[in-house]
């Protein structure tokens, strides 16, 4: 049977991983290739690499990095950050990325989803949505969660699916960084509403949080960053725990 996926997310700036990284066994924990390969070896099911470099000039070096990742990492990976056109995506896929994630650019111009799905297939397109609760509504935010929009999480996710997104990566800005657990209610609503997979993101602090996201939130995958980078939760231990709770987990 299909297993639930555990996905570490790496933020990349100027070709290096950022956010505190505290991996003891690596020669160079700032090297995304080495870190990605280490996660793959530990049993991560997929990886996400987000390029947070500011300029287009630096983005060109990102596709070289994607190629290095593809050479060394033997599990699927998604890349994202600043993608706003079919032309941005082609070199990343050519370099060996399995999926791309889009966020602010799709909010600004939703047709981007249709264009990417048509050019490369839905399975390549991950729609990342950052949202927070404002006056009892889950409002979509862009630019790393800083800028509010008038879009609502559920209708936007549904529209994304209809336009051809293959997966939704939902981050609750209210939960991100709190380590108090994923946003379970909206997750479970998304999963009832959609027929494409949903990745939970933002708020993981304990192994129980992953269990909740999968069992109550019905998420297909759960993503975390610093928690894994700091070694606070080790992937093999997490997977063993989830298996002991009778979840279907790859080991």
């Amino acid at each position: 049977m299909l297993t639930k996926r555990i996905i570490p997310c790496l933020d990349i700036k100027d070709g290096r991983t950022v956010k505190g990284i505290n991996f003891i066994d690596l020669r160079d924990a700032g090297d995304p290739v080495e870190l990605g390969a280490a996660y793959a070896q530990q049993g991560a099911d997929e990886l996400v690499f987000l390029d947070i470099s500011a300029t287009n000039e630096k983005r060109k070096t990102f596709s070289q990095l994607v190629k290095d990742i593809a050479i060394h990492v033997n599990i699927p990976f998604t890349v994202g950050g600043g993608i706003s056109s079919v032309a941005d995506v082609a070199p990343l896929l050519e370099a060996g990325a399995d999926k791309v994630s889009i966020n602010s650019a799709a909010v600004k111009r939703p047709e981007l989803i249709d264009e990417l799905a048509k050019a490369f297939g839905s399975q390549f397109v991950v729609l990342a949505i950052d949202a927070r609760k404002v006056d009892n509504h889950w409002l979509v935010h862009t630019h790393g969660g800083k800028q509010p929009t008038d879009k609502k999480l559920f209708s936007w996710a549904k529209e994304g699916q209809e336009r051809g997104a293959g997966e939704i990566l939902f981050t609750s800005m209210d939960h991100d960084g709190t380590k108090q657990g994923y946003a379970i209610d909206p997750l479970s609503k998304l999963n009832q509403l959609l027929r494409i997979p949903v990745i939970a993101s933002g708020g993981a602090g304990r192994m129980e949080d992953f269990l909740e996201a999968f069992v109550i939130g019905k998420a297909d995958a759960a993503l975390a960053a610093t928690l894994f980078h700091f070694g606070e939760i080790k992937i093999p231990v997490l997977k063993e725990y989830l298996r002991s709770k009778e979840l279907l987990i790859r080991f």
């Binding site: 299909l2 099911d45 599990i75 027929r195």
Partner: protein, 196 residues
Amino acid sequence: MKVAVIKYNAGNIRSVAFALERLGVTFTITDDPEEIRSADKVIFPGVGEASTTMQYLTERKLDTVIKNLKQPVLGICLGMQLMCAHSEENNTPCLGIFDETVQFFKPTHQQKVPHMGWNSLNLSKGWLNQDLEGEFVYFVHSYFVPISKQTVATTEYILPFSSALQKGNFYAVQFHPEKSSNAGELVLKSFFEKSR
């Protein structure tokens, strides 16, 4: 050993190439019929849509080349589906190497389509290394090949379907060995070592 990877508009050629490099296999990526025919082993990758891909192959006469190959050929994902008789994806006649018709998964309330992620293999005897029994491999597909005499491994999602096939010199897998970690590497090794 000369390995040819068939070059066409498939989305995963690069990933397949990297996986072969990791295994230390030397290969050429080619759409030259002579080079494909003279290779010891041939890999037919595939990510994309059935009808446009068949059209692409037919226009370049690669359909006839592939069907008539005598050496071991490994079809991957869409490559495997195109080796079947017919696909429900835009009602497409395919290469007809395997007898089956490729069918669309009907989503259920609990189980979404595409079938995307890691799922396990149940082997019957065949070319796959027996250590792969129960191992997890990575799938991304909305269409499946039903179980038949040519099935050598099954996987369950919505229903049991063929995750690997063989007929004579033609071998095929529905999943992506190039993305399936150590298990995927063992699948590729099985093909290189056991096929003849």
